[in-house]
Symmetry: C2
Subunit: 122 residues, 2 copies
Amino acid sequence: MEIRRDVFQAIADPTRREIIDLIAFDTKNLNAIADNFDMSRQAISQHIRILEECGLVVIKKDGRERFCQAKLEKLYEINEWTERYRVFWTGKMGALRKFLDQESDALNRTAKGSSRIKRKNK
Amino acid sequence: MEIRRDVFQAIADPTRREIIDLIAFDTKNLNAIADNFDMSRQAISQHIRILEECGLVVIKKDGRERFCQAKLEKLYEINEWTERYRVFWTGKMGALRKFLDQESDALNRTAKGSSRIKRKNK
DNA sequence: AGTTTGCGCAAGTAGATCCTTGCATATATA
DNA sequence: TATATATGCAAGGATCTACTTGCGCAAACT
């Protein structure tokens, strides 16, 4: 198992999603972020490092402070993946199934014998 | 750390995403799915159990076979979360920042002294 | 100069995750 | 009935993950 540090992995953790929600449109420094959570500053710091490593956060140093700015372009990857299955929650799945069934029916008519449909009686 | 079995967690694993891609519009039985991967049948079986537990897959028994059907309604949760940050990849972030800056400028004019902007010189 | 504040580094830990192997069981097929 | 097929259950191992605590250090107040 090699180390995975992709966006899907990054947003799997609810704390990291909360961090993103917090700073999405409002750059904050590390302690300001940590204040919102019931865990140590270091824990938050580590989460932010992960977000940084996969490109969802940019850290800008200013004196002794580290300002964390969201850079959520990569969430497009995830958005695009889920978007492919949009039909599942728009209530149009019925129509799609109907269409797919007609497709395979047509295929069966033209090429009987090589049924693509795995079906059993009982 | 309690056990998390939510959709974000479920799709964090690339194998599980591949499984979803495979059966999204095409119900398959367990072995047929496992054939597509370079790991044991049990490994795939366990991934599918996880997908089932969080409601992304429904298993229909038919004789000795288990047909796995995708039920991706819950991906809406993820789609909705990413959708909130769409502005980041549509190239409209500049306009948004401009707008937000004007907002805080206005705030500063009406209520000087209680600056919302944390700023330092140098 | 002394103290506080913001943060990093490092080590340690409990438990989760991903995968394996071995064996059992029901259902088909010859 | 004997064999092959589709699958489940259970235990074990190597990592990985999400924390913690303790210490150090530079920047910023007093």
